[in-house]
C-alpha cells in the first residue's frame, strides 16, 4: 500500500517523529511517501530510515519541497 504523508509546514524534529508514528501503523512492504519543506528533512529522513531498518526507494525534489519514499522492511 502507498501512504501519502504531507508534512509541509513542520520542522525538525517533527518530520522524523511523524514519519515514525505512521511507519508503526503501516504493514511490512507498505511505502510511505513523505512530503516536507523542512530543509533538514531529506538528510534526517534518509538517516532515520537506515537506522530504523527501512529502505528509501525514491527521493524527489521540487523547489523547496522534497518527497521521500520509504518502504517498510520490518
Amino acid at each position: 500500500m502507498r501512504i501519502e504523508l504531507d508534512l509541509r509546514g513542520l520542522y525538525c524534529p517533527m518530520p522524523v517523529l511523524r514519519t515514525r508514528e505512521e511507519m508503526e501503523k503501516a504493514s511490512v512492504g507498505d511505502v510511505i511517501v513523505v512530503t516536507a519543506d523542512d530543509p533538514a528533512a531529506e538528510e534526517d529522513l534518509k538517516r532515520w530510515a537506515k537506522r530504523a531498518g527501512h529502505e528509501v526507494i525514491d527521493v524527489k525534489r521540487e523547489g523547496e519541497t522534497i518527497s521521500v519514499s520509504i518502504k517498510k522492511l520490518g
Binding site: C12, V16, A41
Partner: protein, 136 residues
C-alpha cells in the same frame, strides 16, 4: 585456522574500516578563537586516514554565513575561510543545523553552499556512527 589467527583476522578486518571523528561546533563568530580548531583537527584526521565531519549548531552556524569566514583572522593564523576551504578540499564534510538558523533569525539561504543542511536525526546518527565526538 587456530583462534590466534582468527583474532588476528578480526583485528585486521576492523583496522580496514576507516575510523570516524565527529566535531560539533557550537561556538560562533563572537568567539573567533574557537572557530579554527575543528577545521584543523578535521583536516589532520583526513591526513590520518580518518573520516571527519563537522556539525555546526546553535551559534556555530554563524561561521557558515556566506562572506563571514573571509573576514575572520586572528593572531598569525590565516583567514578562517582559507582553513575552511582546505578542510573541505581534504574531504571534511560540513553539516549545518537548520533549526539553529531559525533560533538565531538567520536566513538559511545565507549559509555557504558546501554545508549540508540537516537536523536532529542526522546529529544523532553521526554521533552513533563516530568512533569519537569532540564538542567546541
Amino acid at each position: 585456522m587456530n583462534s590466534k589467527d582468527l583474532d588476528r583476522n578480526n583485528l585486521e578486518e576492523s583496522n580496514k574500516k576507516a575510523k570516524r571523528i565527529l566535531y560539533i561546533q557550537t561556538s560562533g563568530v563572537d568567539t573567533p578563537e574557537r572557530l579554527y580548531a575543528p577545521f584543523i583537527l578535521a583536516m589532520t584526521a583526513r591526513a590520518m586516514g580518518v573520516e571527519a565531519s563537522i556539525f555546526f549548531m546553535i551559534k556555530g552556524i554563524t561561521a557558515l554565513k556566506q562572506g563571514v569566514a573571509e573576514g575572520i583572522k586572528i593572531g598569525n593564523f590565516p583567514a578562517l575561510k582559507e582553513v575552511m576551504d582546505q578542510a573541505v578540499k581534504a574531504g571534511v564534510k560540513l553539516y549545518a543545523c537548520a533549526q539553529s538558523c531559525e533560533l538565531l533569525n538567520m536566513p538559511r539561504t545565507d549559509l555557504v553552499s558546501y554545508a549540508t543542511v540537516a537536523g536532529a536525526a542526522t546529529v544523532n546518527d553521526l554521533v552513533l556512527d563516530a568512533d569519537a565526538t569532540l564538542c567546541f
